[in-house]
């Protein structure tokens, strides 16, 4: 016989997986919209944000219910607490995808701006991190989680390169300043998404091993 709390935790796991899926999709679409300058796709991302918000609230309510009714301890407690935080991070990732999508819409009509090639690399890396952090959550995989933390540096480095290119671009074509600032803001959002994936990875390490590794880059 499965215990009640195990069923609740199983449901919670399915729910957070659903939030993860929909957020991952939003990120992937928003990045694709940037690269292909696809405004329609960007609009779809914007329209879907409300669903993410709704699901986030649902997951939070579920966590609070389990805490109040079952008073979980040890692995159960760590799972519920980690999900509470991961849920929050996923929702913020969803917001970042929305922000990216907004910029795509704003870029329309800005004329042909060449996107720095590193954006693509950076975006792919960030997407990979998001995919992997969700897999780490579902599998409770601290090895994968640690790998994700390392990847964040790659994204940060790419972001610096993109920034330099944008600054150079502004100096070369001051008339494009507004559009280029929007591109800059898109890369900033992508970088933040990678940061959030790193947070999620750190929560997975806590969930599995019970150690809080945040602010301890070497662990």
């Amino acid at each position: 016989m499965t215990r009640h709390i195990e069923r609740q935790i199983g449901n919670l796991k399915e729910k957070i997986q659903r939030v993860g899926t929909i957020v991952e999709e939003a990120i992937s679409k928003s990045i694709s919209a940037v690269i292909n300058r696809d405004v329609q796709l960007a609009q779809r991302v914007l329209a879907n944000d409300e669903a993410i918000d709704r699901m986030e609230v649902e997951v939070e309510e579920e966590c609070l219910k389990i805490l109040a009714l079952y008073q979980p301890v040890a692995a159960d407690l760590r799972f519920v607490v980690a999900v509470l935080k991961i849920n929050n991070d996923l929702e913020r990732m969803g917001d970042l995808a929305k922000n990216i999508a907004k910029r795509v819409a704003q870029l329309e009509g800005a004329g042909p701006i060449e996107l720095p090639p590193e954006i693509r690399t950076m975006a792919m890396q960030a997407e990979e991190m998001v995919r992997e952090c969700l897999a780490a959550v579902i599998d409770g995989d601290p090895v994968l989680a640690r790998r994700i933390r390392e990847q964040d540096d790659v994204v940060d480095a790419a972001r610096q390169k993109v920034r330099k290119r944008i600054l150079a671009g502004i100096q070369e074509h001051p008339e494009n300043v507004e559009a280029l600032l929007r591109v800059n803001s898109i890369t900033k959002h992508i970088e933040r998404i990678a940061d959030m994936a790193t947070n999620v990875a750190e929560d997975v390490i806590y969930m599995v091993e019970g150690d809080i590794v945040r602010h301890r880059p070497d662990d």
Partner: protein
Amino acid sequence: MSIPPSADPSAQGPPVGGSPDRLAVVAAGGQVPAEVHERVRQTPAVLEIDRFNLWYGVKQALHEITMPIPYGKVTALVGPSGCGKSTLLRSVNRLNDLVPSVRISGEMRLNGDPIYDKRMDVIELRKRMGMVFQRPNPFPMSIYENVVYALRIDGESRRAVLDEVCEKSLRGAALWDEAKDRLGESALGLSGGQQQRLCIARAIAAEPEVLLLDEPCSALDPIATGKIEDLVQELRGRYSVLMVTHNMQQASRSSDYTAFMYLGRLIEYGPTTDIFTKPVLRETEAYVTGRFG
């Protein structure tokens, strides 16, 4: 999305350090080394249990128990029924001496004095430890006389001393406000929860070196239980408490250290916060989360 299908939620993160299955080894009659956290070893001990074994006839009920009981702290013994936690508690003040078939080996020391030494006077030993049982057992006399009982049998008759100890003990047991106007009334007229606090007052009146609590709340309703748990919190620091409990939440709320026992063995023993948030052994994890036991 490329996430693999959801794994069994119960497979969520076994903590590191668990051998294949200590509990299965124990169930097969084997011995496993106890996981005693460093922080327990570092705390000064009021009571030391050292390679203690106990048999009821041919059946061994305790196996090689070695554990220090920290001074001035609350230590909870948890484990499924039959794990030996009550037997261990009763061995501390030699209540098991009263069971004819009991045989022991190993040592226990109370503040350095060997409890099972031939020269140890058992009555004196029990005066140094207070014990509170599952069911409140007030003596059929007044509240006042219950509290000062230990002093009376020690020959204390000065009213001022008795009054002072009575008030101090009842205050210590969080019963003073409820009992101060009825000290002369029979203790049997108190509610179950009040009777249990009276028993704690009676135990602490003798200024024991260790207070032994054997499932002190198992016969009480939730409100009375809450009061006893609050009281145990209050006692921490002033008394060294060793408590047996079936109630996990009680252990997690009331104790500083928790020892998990299984089939007469000590399995894991550490600070309560660690045992209930990140135990070292997955066997302990399985027990505290209710997946086993």
